[in-house]
């Protein structure tokens, strides 16, 4: 096994770290959060120019054909500055849907690579908690050759910034289906709201939205498998973002312990705080190991891959809690202000843990219940 970065990963990391550190300052992120749509147009264009939006697109569709390990290098760099731009939903999860649909969506993949299209999964329905490919209340009703989409969806991350939705629905005679819908289509009512990490999510009602036959990405068992695979890819990237965030917390906190003085000395001289720092290091180290374990299994069969990912989800979820909570504790009162980085990492890690499957979800998945 080789745990060192490949040449491609090293190049990716160098460009990512430089751009992300310079661009996503705390001040900029607070501004993005508090104004407009939450989308950073300048950054998104740069993502496209640097090839990041094409990274996960297979070579055959004009992408860079990057592996989950390659994606995770970039995701960790985004995590280090709590970047909540819709990278994972579009360039990882969305790309998987389009590239692996019954008929791959080449044109839309090109638009994603170019930064002009963004995709969101619109799947969860009211009252659901981390739904799988279960029976949908949302219906695709035949209308001549085509269909009408009707139903209420709940909590769709990044949908407010998306140009297209991947919507799950019940298709008569086929069961579970995934369809591609333009965000601006008629008969869509969205309520958008901010999340604690600065991103946006939406509740979306489809009121007889027209859907053509060729908008169906997949149906039946294929659609269920496509959903799981796409969500797993997104989960892998989110775990990498969490690892990046935790590693940055180690850097931030160790600097703070050297800089802050109380009782006439650096607070880092106090053993109680040294041990907290050491615990955070242990948890972060284990998290990167857990990520590698998930990545090493990412090309295995679905069951093995899911188990590996669930185990990584447990380890990284719990580590995220320990590291972010103690990170605040080490900062004292400054830790709970919006003006210090650490509270942003706290909210970012909490969001990553809960947005698409929490620790409890991973435990149930790992234990097969």
């Amino acid at each position: 096994m080789d745990f060192n970065y490949s040449d491609l990963q090293r190049m990716l990391l160098d460009s990512a770290e430089r751009f992300i550190a310079e661009h996503f300052t705390l001040e900029r992120r607070r501004h993005l959060r508090d104004s407009g749509s939450g989308l950073d147009d300048t950054a998104w264009n740069t993502f496209a120019e640097l090839g990041w939006l094409a990274l996960a697109i297979p070579d055959e569709f004009g992408g860079l054909g990057g592996s989950p390990a390659d994606v995770s290098v970039l995701a960790a760099a985004l995590g280090s500055k709590c970047v909540s731009q819709p990278f994972v939903t579009t360039a990882v999860q969305g790309v998987h849907f389009l590239a692996n649909a019954e008929v791959p969506r080449t044109e839309l993949l090109e638009q994603i690579a170019g930064g002009t299209a963004r995709l969101a999964l619109v799947h969860t329905e009211p009252g659901e908690r981390y739904a799988n490919a279960e029976k949908r209340q949302t219906q695709l009703k035949p209308d001549g050759q085509d269909f009408r989409l009707t139903g209420q969806k709940f909590f769709a991350p990044d949908a407010a910034l998306a140009t297209h939705f991947v919507v799950s629905a019940e298709l008569p005679g086929e069961g579970f289906a995934l369809v591609l819908v333009e965000a601006g289509a008629d008969g869509i009512d969205s309520v958008n709201y901010p999340l604690i990490d600065g991103s946006r999510a939406s509740d979306i009602a489809f009121n007889g939205t027209a859907v053509s036959l060729d908008a169906i990405l997949a149906k039946g068992p294929d659609a269920a498998a496509l959903l799981v695979d796409a969500q797993d890819k997104a989960m892998t990237a989110r775990l990498a973002q969490a690892v990046g965030s935790m590693e940055e917390i180690l850097r931030i906190c160790s600097s703070y312990l050297k800089e802050r003085k109380q009782f006439g000395q650096q607070i880092g001289k106090f053993q109680a705080l040294q041990h907290i720092m050491a615990d955070m290091f242990v948890a972060t180290h284990q998290s990167r190991s857990a990520l590698y374990q998930a990545l090493a299994n990412s090309d295995k069969d679905r069951a093995a891959r899911s188990k590996a990912l669930a185990l990584a989800g447990i380890t990284i979820g719990e580590a995220s809690q320990l590291v972010s909570r103690q990170g605040i504790q080490l900062h004292g009162g400054y830790g709970v202000t919006d003006e210090y980085e650490i509270s942003h990492h706290y909210r970012y890690l909490l969001t990553l843990e809960k947005i698409a499957g929490d620790i409890d979800h991973h435990i149930r998945r790992a234990s097969g219940t």
Binding site: Q329, G335, T337
Partner: protein, 386 residues
């Protein structure tokens, strides 16, 4: 009887605002409105000596009364006045100070801010630097305070200031009452992790404070501050809040389903609720032992540190549980102020509006009022002489 009286007096609007509040203490306007209502019954400072307006109740009766207030969903009292500087004033203050401030605290005339911590001196409070220099009839105060809750809404503050830089740090500190509308005071609200900005920085630039506002003797401020903290030995357990938080967790769990079963029937959540209920129950009895003046084998302050350690950790653990029970629903950001929140759709629970916000700011529970690490140092030192 008390329960009926509270139910009769508490306006539904205040009760609703308190139920939906997003921080770890009520909004100052709600606090003052409720204090003025409660003053009608003479119940704002029941723990004070009767001569200053107290009710003459036993510690157990006071405990039950506080519990009833929380159960009823009443706003908090202005703790800085009723439980912090009030007792210092009636114990150490001059007759003029008693006559001026005690009725005002009782009746809810002023909101009080606490000016102790400084940017460079949090845990190491004894080294505070804000200087008060005597000049005729006034002290001229210069310096900066931080983490002053609700200073923006406060009329008065009680401050620890350095009046003598030449002696041992603890001996050079004095306790000053400062009118926050005085010239030279600038207050900046600090944006917080949960979207509130209750915590403030207070800048004092040549603020003139009449010498009559010095409480007790010059140089005794540290003693008074310790008195004030010792006086409220059981407060830091937040026992009433923790009990209410257990019930809230049960309600949140019972109102959500997973695989067709409510969350309070799922073993992991069931287990967490039971474990936390066990800890809260033990904490309540630890509080009662202090209230009953049990003779401890170890110094009483060690028992008080137990209450602070367990109480703050439980506040956090229970708020973490609330958030975990909500799942992804916990991630939505709402305005901290109730009136600014969007009209709730039927897709969202009411508790999603405030439980995450509370959990976020409760990360400070193990930091303020003597951090978890400081409390452990205290126990090691005073209980075991380590």
């Amino acid at each position: 009887m008390v329960r009926d009286a509270i139910a009769q007096d508490l306006p539904p609007r205040l009760q609703e605002r308190q139920r939906r509040f997003a921080g770890n203490q009520s909004e100052p306007g709600d606090t003052m409105e409720w204090t003025r209502i409660l003053a009608g019954r003479g119940w704002t400072v029941p723990h004070w000596p009767v001569e200053y307006g107290g009710c003459g109740w036993s510690p157990m009766q006071l405990f039950v009364f506080q519990d009833e207030l929380i159960r009823a969903g009443a706003p908090d009292s202005c703790w800085g006045g009723t439980h912090m500087c009030g007792p210092v004033i009636y114990t150490f203050g001059s007759e003029e100070q008693k006559a001026k401030f005690l009725p005002a605290i009782r009746n809810g005339d002023y909101f009080w801010a606490q000016g102790f911590s400084e940017p460079g001196n949090g845990s190491d409070l004894a080294n505070l630097r804000t200087a008060a220099v005597r000049n005729g009839d006034v002290y001229v105060v210069n310096g900066q305070k931080i983490w002053t809750s609700c200073a923006w809404a406060s009329e008065w503050g009680f401050f620890l200031v350095r009046t003598d830089p030449t002696v041992k740090p603890q001996r050079g500190i004095s306790f000053l009452l400062i009118d926050l509308k005085s010239p030279g005071i600038t207050i900046r609200r600090i944006p917080q992790i949960n979207g509130e900005a209750e915590l403030c920085e207070v800048f004092l630039d040549n603020v003139e404070v009449p010498v009559g506002n010095l409480v007790g003797e010059e140089g005794q401020g540290w003693t008074y501050a310790k008195f004030l903290l010792d006086h409220e030995r059981t407060t830091s357990s937040f026992i009433y809040f923790n009990k209410a938080a257990v019930e809230l967790a049960k309600a949140v769990a019972a109102s959500r389903t997973l695989d067709g079963v409510t969350l309070d029937r799922h073993p992991r959540f069931q287990g967490r609720i039971a474990q936390l209920e066990a800890e809260v129950t033990a904490l309540e009895w630890s509080v009662l032992r202090v209230l009953a003046n049990e003779h401890f084998q170890y110094p009483e302050a060690a028992a008080a540190s137990v209450l602070k350690i367990v109480g703050s950790r439980l506040q956090q653990a229970l708020s973490e549980l609330h958030v975990d029970l909500m799942g992804a629903e916990s991630l939505r950001l709402y305005p901290a102020e109730v009136a600014e929140r969007p009209i709730r759709s039927s897709l969202w629970s009411e508790e999603s509006e405030y439980l995450t916000s509370r959990a976020l700011i409760l990360r400070a529970a193990t930091i303020y009022g003597g951090s978890l690490q400081i409390q452990k140092n205290i126990i090691a030192k005073i209980a075991f002489d380590l």
